[in-house]
Symmetry: C2
Subunit: 208 residues, 2 copies
Amino acid sequence: MQNDTKPKAAKRRGRPRSYDPEQALQQVMDSCWSGGYSATSLDDLSMATGMNRPSLYAAFGNKQSIYLQAMEKFSTHMAEQLEPALTADQPLEAALRAFYSRVLNVYFSGDDGPRGCMVMCTATSEAHADPQIRQYLDRTLQRIDALLISRFERALADGELPSDTDPATLGKLAATTMHSLALRSRAGQSRASLKRLSDASARMLARA
Amino acid sequence: MQNDTKPKAAKRRGRPRSYDPEQALQQVMDSCWSGGYSATSLDDLSMATGMNRPSLYAAFGNKQSIYLQAMEKFSTHMAEQLEPALTADQPLEAALRAFYSRVLNVYFSGDDGPRGCMVMCTATSEAHADPQIRQYLDRTLQRIDALLISRFERALADGELPSDTDPATLGKLAATTMHSLALRSRAGQSRASLKRLSDASARMLARA
DNA sequence: GCTTTTTTGTACCGTATCGCAATTTATTTA
DNA sequence: TAAATAAATTGCGATACGGTACAAAAAAGC
């Protein structure tokens, strides 16, 4: 196998970059997560990353492409945070509680006020007019569904649920609570109230 | 009591309006519902209403004020559509199914593709940076909670639910499904799949 | 040292943005 | 008919927008 794709110090030919693409994308993500797509200008992103606009363009493409990549980074981060709660060896209700707890950790992670889910809270606005953003939103929602459905399938296989329950439906209902947490946290509702809500949801879903 | 506030033909003093404020606000609502706040310009609104910008400004104030009034119109319309389902004389589960059915009627009402909830799908994007929009979003979510909670309180009083259930929690969980319908419809998910989801939610909540 | 390659920095293009001042038009009252 | 009132229209001002052309700068290859 060939190397030099990842081992970054591969002596590139021209002038070296003065920024770290990963870190820059992180800052782009942060800006768009706070302000949304339309309200965040390329100048804002230029400020946030320290890159000038031509460099931004060269690195990530046009504004829509930048935004889509930022959402992908968010999704990856999100998946890394959430998956352990569902794969861990614990009962269904505990797993759901842990899952929602981690969800809230992300939604409340901002420096100046909770921001909810970047995808659900900012892509929705553009989703009607922009097919690509709409598609990304849909696929994200489906990814979350699948994540939760698989946990309910496991619960069913483990005898944690009556054999006539439908894991696909329960998984989507569990996602439903996550969607609400996204909106409610961005609306400014208290973390304590959202913890109570998600606990109640976990309890109800685990005893379906 | 004095008249001439509503009986619109009250011979106003100067040049008569060439537009109907109610109808104009309706068209503003429609534009913002589709495009969101930041991506909808005053020129777009001017086009949609047929009013020129100064008239828009005189009638509804600045852009934020226009948007807030459009959301209020949406909320009023929404409440009119949804309340009958909850006040009608029918069992809890049927009431919830009727409620979600009416929700979907609104979310799928657009001429070019479903748009979900105007507040949940467009205000969220601005909510982090704009305190007034955030507050409007929060109050909207709370209004929906209250609407549903009152139905669960009635169900409890009518003996439709075990006496140890908490109507406040159930109401919020019911709202949770509505939030999800808002996002999912705007993401392009099929109405049939959302009907299945909301039916499942109604069944589960009515047997809590 | 000279060329090649890649990124940076500056400056700019054409257009769109929100908001408003000034003027014109249409209607009621005196 | 003349004054008063209110809305429509025009047009502008300042700036912000996404996107790019172009030259200077910094590294590697020869």
